[in-house]
Symmetry: C2
Subunit: 235 residues, 2 copies
């Protein structure tokens, strides 16, 4: 993990083994270093060149942490009768995956499942787009997207696929009872949406209604609208 924000969340919600820090970054983040040390991290000073070689950003912030891996086994992410889960089914863009994790966190989701060809949540861009949310809720990976759906159903969740051509309108009064129940929302990639086999396996294919001339919404905004529709339906 790199950068003050991600490292801070890692210290608070994850497990940091080592923290490499430049003198300038140490001066900028005195509280964070104290917190990291108290949480058991080993802190090592490095110079700018070393920090740069550890970083995958253009402007390194001089703070790099070595942490535990983020993901947990799928069955563990889905224990304890989850009531709201987000499933990424083939989201290849790390910025999108990170943003969906951030929105799921904000919506109070119990877990995020990264299924099929979804990007690795350890990807630096995904971590940055999540602004720390990768540490806030259980993440699980499952290469077999249909197996991920089956696990969600076995956990008692109704499966909703976000689909621009879905048969159920998100704002249909009949949808509220479904949305407010225990659900897993399934989101697909930017270009092609959710794979057909996955969409067929779901209980409902739900479309966000489009009222203007836009052809579609982008993945992150559609996911935000869907997840928060479930939040609203619980009130």
């Amino acid at each position: 993990m790199e950068g003050a924000q991600a490292v801070r969340e890692a210290v608070r919600f994850g497990h940091v083994h080592d923290l490499f820090v430049t003198p300038a970054a140490a001066d900028r983040n005195p509280g964070l270093l104290i917190e990291a040390r108290a949480a058991g991290a080993r802190i090592s000073p490095v110079d700018d060149r070393a920090a740069e070689s550890l970083s995958d950003t253009v402007t390194p912030q001089g703070l790099v942490a070595v942490c535990d891996l983020l993901d947990v086994p799928l069955h563990r992410a889905l224990t304890g009768a989850p009531s709201l889960v987000a499933v990424c089914a083939g989201i290849g863009d790390p910025g999108n995956a990170g943003t969906v994790i951030r929105v799921a966190d904000a919506a109070g989701a119990d877990a995020v499942v990264l299924a099929g060809d979804t990007v690795d949540p350890h990807n630096g861009k995904a971590v940055r787009a999540s602004t720390g949310s990768v540490f806030h809720l259980p993440l699980a990976r499952e290469r077999d997207a249909l197996a991920a759906l089956d696990a969600c159903r076995a956990a008692g969740l109704v499966l909703l696929v976000a689909d621009g051509d879905g048969e159920l309108d998100l704002h249909d009064p009949a949808a509220a009872a479904v949305l407010g129940g225990r659900v897993a929302w399934v989101f697909g990639g930017e270009a092609h949406g959710v794979p057909e086999a996955v969409a067929e396996r779901a209980d409902h294919r739900v479309r966000v209604p489009i009222h203007g001339h836009a052809e579609s919404l982008n993945l992150a905004t559609a996911a935000a609208i869907c997840l928060y529709a479930s939040v609203a339906a619980r009130r």
Copy 2:
């Protein structure tokens, strides 16, 4: 405008004066060229080097159109008793501005007002992020953000500022009557939100409730949730 998608929307919803096209792009988009010609565009073949020099993308698509400017005077954008308007108050990131325009279009907004230090909607990244929506609804620019708010109020709109610390919870049952009325939603920049003077001028400061550990939502997802909450409240 460049690229097949933006040029197609420009031909259908805007006014294209000239279209410069490489032989390869002409082969890929025969229907678009016919449509552009029928709409009165002058079509000029160019080679790859010329197309590249006209483009501001890394991988030019070989299609560049010269169009009318996008924005209209503010009073014109707000004529005809608008019922849903999005106001960008100091959105500097072109990708964010374009995405807000796309979401506003999808939500059926009557107009988007680009106020204060908001990016120019003609910015190539803003146009691309809007995926054609810059052509679908009236866009107006107003450097003075408070004047933009006054114009919205004069048009009969209730002013709602999206604000993480707002006093009104988006999902508060009392909010539904407000959200479902004639409203202008005001969105600020990524880092600092809406300027204080703008927030004070609004009728309500509305927060999207955060249920997990996330500190906030990003601008585009928050805007999507707010605009679609108004769409839902009208049903």
